[in-house]
Symmetry: C2
DNA sequence: CGGCTGCTTGATTACGCTCAAGATTAGTGG
DNA sequence: CCACTAATCTTGAGCGTAATCAAGCAGCCG
């Protein structure tokens, strides 16, 4: 909570909050690492100036030298398809790591762009690798984070392969809801920083479909939207819809 | 080549080929690790008796204690959706690792089943973790393998989100072709060990659609099939189709 | 040989895309 | 501060692709 008091003006000193004091340390890489070791991790991390909406964190094709932890704000990552159009591969909230897919190829395969004013921690990869060889707990956590990413991607594959449009949007909203809750925000009311276009792209749907679904969800009393602000009225039903129920109709 | 001579009867001694002599070592975990270190890796690996077609390597829900490298044969991994139906998440060929998504949760989230007679190396995870803390090159390779997995999953997400049915099947066939080629087999002629059902499930398509597509590809002179045997006649055109060309029609 | 499973083919339906237009919001400069 | 433009979002109509439903066919086992 120390580093993000709404009233205060943006203060570069405040931004340089150490991992140990960061309210995200139980989501991010430092999870499960003891206090002394966190300081060593802290030493290799660069806090960068906040990114404005639309700024790139990195671009596809750029040489890979660091992964990034979101500190505040949000980021979308996306690749370009062979024919030039973009494919959104993920939205990232505070505490999440971006750029893990670049490790294998030494080159960024996707681009990452700030969806709003966003601050990040840059973690130089060679040094992270080195440090994790010395700190088993860090190595362990790094592998776990990557494994979780694989798990999430598999989940996403299932969503794209088997689910209907309404189930996809419901699942995406539930994912957001859960992630906001984890971060101490309301799971029922939040701000979606990405455009409808991005949502559609991410979910493999046309923008029009996303728009229609939001209207329908609203008519069904599932939620209320005001532009990018979402208030979920019936979390239980949305959760069921997100699960999978093309056979068993709810009510 | 030493460990898999077709004429010879199955010999348990032959199965115990060390990593150093394994013809897959430049695809698998030992890649980039020097000879002495490979022996240490070798010591923790268990070669298990071959699995018969349909046998489980592990099942979802089981406690996680090892990852597996495919030595010969092939495996499909799959999760169960909330409503009980299965979702194939991948097909794995010799040299590939299975079970990486279980690291984060200490539990297998997906099941893995042999698609044909298959032999695997079991790599106990606690010992792998320990060893990779001592061997930077192993740690490095492990992280790379996981990163590559993430990259592939992203590629798959794009396929499921943006591509038409024919493009999906073409992409899947190209993936198989490339992987067979990497392993020293013909990229134009191979055996698909999985059923049409599994292919459809994996690609997010109905079985009927897969079947129709195989017929159409054959009519178009792209390939020939005889049950599970596939012969690609026009690799170039298949590759283009796999790419993305809903706009620019080829001929 | 009969029963089984997996594959193929056909007919019909429907979900979501495309195209098109209008509405609302945000961004910009006078 | 308001007008103007550009971008984003919403809504509608029609169409196309792939799913579903329904048989028939081929390979494989006891």
């Amino acid at each position: 909570m120390a580093n993000l008091q709404p009233g205060k003006p943006l203060d570069m000193a405040a931004i340089k909050v150490a991992c140990a004091n960061c309210n995200l340390h139980n989501l991010c890489l430092p999870l499960g690492i003891d206090t002394r070791d966190i300081e060593r991790l802290d030493d290799i991390i660069n806090r960068k100036r906040p990114l404005a909406r639309g700024e790139y964190l990195f671009q596809a094709g750029a040489p890979f030298h660091a992964i990034y932890a979101i500190r505040s704000g949000s980021v979308k990552s996306f690749t370009a398809t062979e024919d030039g159009q973009e494919q959104v591969t993920g939205f990232h909230l505070p505490g999440e790591l971006v750029g893990l897919d670049a490790i294998s190829s030494d080159t960024h395969n996707c681009s990452a762009r700030a969806l709003e004013t966003t601050s990040v921690c840059e973690i130089p990869y060679p040094q992270l690798e080195e440090l994790s060889a010395l700190m088993p707990s860090l190595q362990r956590q790094l592998l776990r984070v990557m494994s979780r990413e694989i798990l999430q991607d598999e989940h996403m594959m299932m969503l794209l392969g088997r689910k209907a449009a309404d189930e996809r949007l419901a699942a995406m909203l539930m994912s957001m809801s859960n992630r906001f809750k984890q971060r101490g925000f309301s799971p029922r009311e939040f701000h979606l920083s990405m455009s409808r276009n991005d949502i559609g792209n991410y979910l493999g749907l046309a923008v029009e479909t996303v728009s229609r679904l939001f209207t329908r969800f609203q008519e069904d009393g599932l939620l209320e939207t005001e532009r990018k602000h979402v208030r979920i009225l019936d979390l239980a039903r949305l959760s069921v819809l997100a699960g999978a129920n093309r056979i068993s109709p709810d009510e």
